[in-house]
């Protein structure tokens, strides 16, 4: 089992996707090759700046497809202008959800 955490970034005023709009964590694979995931958003941002991530994550979670392969695909293909994703060290936390929320807390004061 491994835990991987990422910052999700959306479009910013400079024209690049450098604004943190949320955080994503995945953990797995379990015995059944399943991946647990948790994501959380920075509140009160413009919906358009996070729209792409929100739609993709909710769709992937709904389809049970939010796994390491998909996240690596996003890392590979994010355009860097309207969206980007960057891996960060996972904070020490008793659960995946708390690790992701800790990243959000950190982004709130950055």
């Amino acid at each position: 089992m491994r835990r991987r955490c990422f910052y999700l970034m959306g479009h910013g005023p400079t024209g690049a996707a450098v604004r943190v709009v949320g955080a994503l964590g995945i953990e797995g694979p379990s015995a059944g090759a399943q991946w647990e995931s948790h994501f959380s958003w920075i509140p009160l941002l413009e919906e358009l700046d996070m729209q792409g991530w929100r739609e993709d994550l909710e769709r992937a979670r709904g389809a049970g497809a939010l796994d390491e392969d998909l996240v690596e695909h996003w890392v590979e293909t994010a355009n860097g202008i309207t969206r980007d994703i960057t891996e960060v060290e996972s904070p020490e936390a008793p659960s995946l959800a708390l690790a992701v929320e800790a990243l959000v807390d950190l982004a709130l004061v950055s």
Partner: protein, 540 residues
């Protein structure tokens, strides 16, 4: 005359004589700030008073104090330091003020950053923060409440409001049964009751409420723009509006430069975002001030970058506004380089928000996307420019599925792992379901101009444009390679060479260009067939 009467106005540099001339103390956050400025002795005195007060604030130990009283005392001391800061800086230039203001902010943050979480929670609760136990969930990192409580940050700032909003969001999650945070609603309520020693003022609901949905009038605007155009004057106005829309797209795009010019650009790295992590992209500034983004193409060793650059060239040759992309080597890696456009925003995925001009622009860009085999055009791969135009930005998947892709309403090779439908499919689907704005429709004729421009490119010229894609793609055996090997085998009747495969790719590309008109005629027949059928039924 001149015997010392000017002494009161004498000026000198602060920096070299910090120790005795109003400079920052030699410890803590203030020590790093050494403003170099020319000031009078009176100003020096004001600065001395500021630094002395700030040092007191900075060294305040809140641990063990009553959170309510302790915070009020901190607020008072911070206000005094702020007043002294103003007195010491009000006559300075903004660049000279800035270090002192930063020192003030950091000095006031220092005691809060050292305060234990329960103290911060109780102090925040006393200041009207709702559910303070639901932020700062992990120990050993900067507590969001230390930021929220910093008296030097404006109480209504978006950053403070976001912290409060996050706490409320988490509380709602827990209240609806979520166990993600490792705490139940009952435990949370008990913790908050224990915390609420003093009376809790009315919650700052106004700052915590999410903003109303933006672009609420977009549908109306879209409908307005699509009013029936019957008279000559109305038609003329429509043409003018279409030109304005096109101009808004084009004018936002930096002019395309030659590869040699871009290769010679002296680019200076620009600081990465403040969050940690490894960024695949890097940002740079050119001597003319323009901002650029570099994406290393490590996986395909430059082949994908060549494909993206050629796709952008093909699109702009066809008259589709698109961001210019270039191939360049930086830091030992080959990748794509493109300019950034400030002030734009991602296109909404709400199809009812599109005007007729938007729809026409999307149809035109669909022609280009099909020509270069780009099936990754999601709404957020299109920028809405400040003037209201549309600019597609990401052709990173150009040619990827060449040889096996289809021009159809259902074809989406990214369905498994990216997005359910492309922008084009969303648009045509909305058209078929009558879910575009009132009066707005897909007009096949919008595609004609772009098709004609591509038809005007000679086959040999087009082959030359695409040659780098063929060469690099064969060299790196990119995803289209197997399909082109099959095509070359069929043509040659035996095992193909690398040149045969590259030729097969170029043949395929030229074929697509030659069949563009026929392809879109058949495609639009598919798009409009169900509508025609339903209309017929309705009439019958």
């Amino acid at each position: 005359m001149g015997s010392g009467s000017k002494k009161a106005h004498e000026s000198f540099s602060v920096a070299p004589t910090l120790a005795g001339a109003g400079g920052p103390p030699a410890h803590g956050v203030a020590a790093a700030q050494a403003p170099v400025a020319t000031v009078s002795p009176a100003d020096v005195q004001a600065k001395e008073a500021f630094w002395a007060k700030l040092t007191t604030v900075e060294l305040t130990d809140l641990t063990g104090t009553d959170p309510v009283d302790g915070y009020v005392a901190l607020q008072k001391a911070a206000a005094e330091a702020e007043a002294l800061c103003f007195a010491a800086t009000h006559q300075l230039d903004p660049s000279e003020k800035e270090p002192l203001h930063q020192a003030l902010v950091k000095g006031c943050a220092a005691p809060l950053l050292k305060a234990p979480a329960p103290w911060l929670q109780a102090a925040a609760l006393s200041q009207g923060f709702q559910h303070p136990t639901l932020v700062g969930l992990t120990p050993n990192s900067e507590h969001p409440l230390a930021f929220w409580l910093n008296p030097t940050y404006l109480s209504g700032s978006p950053a403070k409001a976001a912290i409060q909003a996050k706490a409320i969001e988490r509380w709602k999650d827990i209240a609806s049964g979520s166990t993600a945070y490792g705490i139940t609603l009952a435990e949370l309520q008990a913790a908050e009751e224990a915390l609420a020693k003093p009376a809790v003022p009315a919650p700052a609901a106004a700052t915590a409420s999410p903003p109303p949905p933006s672009s609420s009038s977009s549908t109306t605007k879209a409908a307005d723009a699509a009013a029936p155009q019957r008279t000559f004057l109305a038609k003329q106005k429509a043409v003018e509006a279409a030109l304005a829309h096109y101009s808004a797209s084009i004018s936002a795009i930096p002019a395309r430069r030659s590869d040699a010019e871009v290769g010679a650009l002296a680019l200076t790295p620009v600081a990465a975002p403040s969050v940690g992590g490894m960024h695949a992209k890097s940002f740079h500034q050119a001597p003319d001030g323009s901002q650029w983004m570099f994406k290393p193409d490590s996986r395909a060793k430059g082949a994908a970058a060549h494909a993206e650059a050629v796709a952008s060239l093909v699109c702009s040759t066809g008259g589709t506004p698109t961001m210019p992309v270039y191939v360049r080597s930086m830091g030992g890696a080959t990748g794509s380089l493109q300019p950034l456009v400030a002030g734009a925003s991602p296109l909404s995925s709400d199809m009812t928000a599109l005007s007729q001009h938007d729809v026409d622009a999307v149809v035109r860009s669909h022609v280009s996307a099909w020509l270069v085999g780009d099936h990754d055009c999601k709404p957020d791969n299109v920028l809405r420019t400040p003037g209201g135009g549309l600019v597609p930005i990401d052709h990173g998947q150009a040619f990827k599925f060449y040889g096996s892709d289809q021009l159809s309403l259902d074809y989406n090779p990214n369905n498994a792992h990216n997005h359910d439908r492309t922008l084009y499919q969303k648009l045509y689907s909305a058209h078929l379901k009558g879910k575009l704005a009132k009066g707005v429709r897909v007009r096949p004729e919008a595609a004609l101009g772009v098709i004609k421009r591509y038809e005007a490119i000679s086959d040999s010229e087009y082959r030359a444009m695409l040659a780098p894609v063929a060469r690099e793609g064969v060299s790196q055996k990119v995803p289209w390679y197997p399909a082109m090997v099959q095509r070359a085998k069929a043509t040659k009747g035996g095992p193909p060479t690398a040149t045969d495969v590259a030729t097969a790719f170029l043949d395929c590309a030229v074929e697509r260009k030659q069949q563009l008109r026929a392809g879109f005629t058949a495609f639009f027949a598919q798009v409009f067939a169900p509508k025609a059928a339903s209309t017929t039924q309705a009439v019958a």
